[in-house]
Symmetry: C2
Subunit: 236 residues, 2 copies
Amino acid sequence: MPPPSLAAIAARDTGDDGSAGRGSRSDRAADVVREAILDGTFRWGTRLSEPQICAAVDVSRNTLREAFRTLAQERLVVHELNRGVFVRVPTAQDVTELYACRRIVECAAVRCCTGEPGELDGVDAALAQADALAGTADWIGVGTADIAFHRALVALSRNERLVGMTAGVWNEMRLVFHVVGEPAEFHGSYLARNHALAATLAAGDTAAAEAALHAYLDDAEQHTLETYRQRSIAGA
Amino acid sequence: MPPPSLAAIAARDTGDDGSAGRGSRSDRAADVVREAILDGTFRWGTRLSEPQICAAVDVSRNTLREAFRTLAQERLVVHELNRGVFVRVPTAQDVTELYACRRIVECAAVRCCTGEPGELDGVDAALAQADALAGTADWIGVGTADIAFHRALVALSRNERLVGMTAGVWNEMRLVFHVVGEPAEFHGSYLARNHALAATLAAGDTAAAEAALHAYLDDAEQHTLETYRQRSIAGA
DNA sequence: GCATATTTGTCCGTATGTATA
DNA sequence: CTATACATACGGACAAATATG
């Protein structure tokens, strides 16, 4: 297999904002690699070679290793001693735990919904984004917007710490979507349910919304696990 | 103020297991510094000087910086660009969010209690530890055991990811306890309630246990915030 | 099974920029 | 305003572990 287009990654780096001002160098290196993982440039299970990526993003090994440490804590990569860092491969067991976490946190956050004006702005924005991308058949983008929608649900708790705590969950969900291959119909069916959920919330019926969300996550979990079984992906 | 006893920290390093075998050097450096923060050797707000700690734990700056990155993600220290790393100081706002997270996660975990034999072993062990330390008037130890008790409650979910997600919460709670100064009576009153909670769980009444836990966390939050107000600790 | 090449883990020295006294 | 101390980042070096032929 040919190495991923590292040149394109380096280009993204410089094209960011021109001046290399804000944030430390290792943070910006982490940004570039994170983006490449989330959009699928670095596929699940790929080993990330230090020398190659050092050259691509133009940082020293020490700086890149700090960036790797950040990404490891974000659950995007796993670090194996003396072997290097690899893009994480979520197992079937991971999928089960991921959805269990989401049921707990998302349902609790929805219960915090108060109905004050503007509260659902973030939720609606994610929905609009998903609609737009579905129109252009960009299903990876739709998957990302779906994640943004559910992250916006957690933000309803108005608890910055809870949002930060779930950051790793969304990263792993992005990897899960890449693993299942995101066929066109995978996210399409959930887009309608997201709309229904938002409407229930806007109507102020948080109890019904919570119940619907719980069922939604149960269904999505089963759907994902079924896809895992079909493709014989490791579950240990 | 005199610098903390760095020599004692270095001694702990070698006294760990003799051979410096398992884990990377940066991981072991993080272990030493983490322990020093959790047990109060490095007080809240303290700036952690790279040169001093490098000498104390006998690692290079690059390695120590990797360790700092780990501790920052664990929420024990905060990293300010070009200024260094500081032991985190939880604000009153942090306390509020912390307890909100705990209400959500701990109550959900308790609901997962099935009643199978041995399920409460971790919970009981933490209680026994707290009792023993209360007997020796080691109130810092009692606070740590209290945290271990509640961490064991989360483990009832049998969700390794949920346990990992809350790791930062327990670290910050430890810092909160250090900030409030943990007088003798601070943890003592909750020890009895922990025992009652465990008894309710052992009896299989998870609904009552969840209600009691919710009330417990409400009370502890108010108690902590009151102490914050009395000592005029920043809340922004 | 063995020798070799690659890669990682760790360290040092140093230059540059930034904050503080 | 200058000076000092410190954090940031680089490049090079070597040992150890791993992968490859």
